[in-house]
Symmetry: C2
Subunit: 353 residues, 2 copies
DNA sequence: TTGAAAGCGATACCAG
DNA sequence: CTGGTATCGCTTTCAA
């Protein structure tokens, strides 16, 4: 009744085993592994042979206790958001080939932000990328005292952590100028209801503020509708809005997922983007699909992810502590969903009466 | 010139600090944290107060050296695949509220599979979910000797690890029966070129085999086209196929992303799904979008992710070592992309000549 | 250049 | 029920 021989009991070799096999000391093996200074060629080859033979791989947990874990944490508020996927892809690609492994920790439902970031910090990641818009700057400052942190998306004037953002004012301006050039005057803005805290510097707040500023400057009505983060929310709100107010000829959505919801609402109402133009934000992959063809402001999510990794590695390898704030210039991708304005209100009576 | 006082040097409290503050031993603190047997209420409250006061959180790296890391590793071959997102969501949701944290490690480009799984194992995850189709069963068996492993997607007759699959034969049958009922006889199959190893039990191989079997049984031609994993590949191949062979009235794509590429090819050729029906596999979110409306076989990715976590936790908590093989029953979602067969070859001469 | 030994921060056993 | 102590696998002094 050996309790070991069956499946489930394979002890992996430790550094001691390697040292024994190579006839050297533990410390020597450690040095070889870390390419540290002070090992002879003879010793190096002997150790490397032993490592190969035993199939030895160091345990990160043990390394992490003294040195580094060679892991980078990426906290994302949720899964299934295409813009976040862009960021993940950019970060993963930037990290590829290095000795670091990207560990993505998703929030789920209400459980996101602080607890997830803490979980990553508890796992001794060497650096941390945060996306959650809900964590307060003060809390992040404290966390950033402990390990290198880069925040994506929010325009914080941080001192201990870096930020990667896009110029939301410029992006919103691109979208609205575009719609105005097409002749639109009744332009609604669909945005998300934010938590009151830290709202000021959130991207969507900035887009909203810019929208209100621009419409006011142009003497246009400010038509703002709030919804949740999901496509379905946007669908419901947009559907109601479009059928309630036929004077609206264009909708600027806070991000593409909301915009897709708007497109669905249009389709279900028997309307097209010839009736109501739609412009989104993020330029997710789906926006470029010919069956969707959504005009959108690109903020280059992949690049944001890559830059975040770069900033983090810079802090890790050079020990930089002064904050850097990187801002990306957004670009407008014009597609079929934004077209010249055309009145929806009694079109036949327009010239007649 | 204190090298410490500035940003970057915040030592987090250790268990020793807590013990000192509470006036008890380290071991006692450990017990309280783990809800272990044998601690008085008085001691518990004193320790808990100290923990709260110091803001103590245990370091996982240290815990992992003796006990568990409370981390579950999820290896995914790449990002941006919607079906994989479903799996991630299911797994994350199932794990929510537990004391475990999901760590997602994505492959990137050529670097996926074994090295990523090793990275997770090296980080002492308590259990591992693997999706990579390219890792050999033998290698996985060895890995599974070390820690609990669940493989998603492949029909391996494993002995040391569990599997979660969907019935690809049934799913393919659903799709093809559906198309045949609609009157289609020239049905092409678009699939991915697989690595020769371990190909036999891969989902896509099974779908292909079933396709060949069914067309042969029905006396139909087997029309198989291969492409890469991406939408663009499918687009190019489908476009070429459709224009080369006008007799084809339906395409069964290996998965939805390929199917979306096919839809794009149709649109660009000035055709619609009235001309060529399309059925996919996976039922990704986009398939249900009214502007896409893709008929698809659902294999319930979220459920697969949730089951994988369940199996893993079962192994972890009960110590089960006997392999379990869970199979999901797929269902067909009929949408607008599959319609009654209609000849594309000289339709006007059909009744005439 | 190399080896021996002292930690890192937790867990787990064993006396009291 | 509680406190000491060995221990996990690695890094890092410090002598030799």
């Amino acid at each position: 009744m050996g309790s070991d021989a069956s499946a489930g009991a394979a002890r992996r070799p430790s550094m001691d085993d390697v040292a024994r096999a190579a006839g050297v000391s533990k410390g020597a093996v450690s040095k070889v592994i870390r390419n540290a200074y002070g090992v002879s060629d003879a010793m190096r080859t002997r150790v490397e042979d032993a490592i190969r033979e035993l199939g030895y791989r160091p345990r990160i947990a043990a390394r992490a206790m003294r040195g580094s874990s060679f892991s980078i944490g990426l906290e994302i508020p949720n899964l299934g958001n295409d813009f976040l996927t862009q960021i993940m892809q950019g970060a993963a690609a930037q990290l590829a080939g290095s000795s670091y492994q990207l560990m993505i920790a998703p929030g789920i439902g209400e459980l996101s932000g602080e607890p997830v970031l803490e979980n990553l910090a508890d796992r001794q990641v060497d650096g941390l990328i945060a996306i959650s818009p809900e964590v307060t700057p003060a809390w992040l400052e404290t966390l950033a005292l402990e390990l290198p942190v880069v925040l994506i998306g929010r325009h914080d004037a941080s001192v201990n952590y870096d930020t990667v953002t896009n110029d939301d004012v410029a992006g919103t301006t691109l979208a609205l100028d575009h719609l105005r050039t097409l002749g639109h005057e009744r332009i609604a803005h669909l945005t998300m209801r934010m938590q009151p805290e830290a709202q000021a510097r959130a991207p969507h707040s900035l887009r909203l503020l810019t929208y209100e500023q621009m419409t006011a400057d142009a003497g246009l009505d400010s038509i703002v509708e709030y919804c949740g983060d999901a496509q379905d929310d946007a669908y419901a709100v947009a559907r109601e809005l479009i059928s309630r107010d036929p004077s609206i000829t264009a909708i600027f959505a806070g991000h593409d997922t909301l915009a897709i919801g708007v497109l669905r609402a249009l389709a279900d109402l028997g309307l097209t983007t010839k009736d109501v133009s739609v412009v989104g934000y993020d330029d997710i992959q789906l926006a470029g699909h010919p069956m969707v063809s959504l005009s959108s402001v690109s903020q280059f999510g992949e690049k944001m992810g890559a830059i975040a990794i770069e900033l983090l590695m810079e802090r890790i390898s050079t020990g930089r502590t002064a904050a850097r704030h990187y801002q990306i210039h957004p670009e407008l991708r014009v597609r079929a969903s934004s077209q010249a304005a055309r009145s929806r209100t009694r079109p036949e009576s327009r010239t007649g009466s």
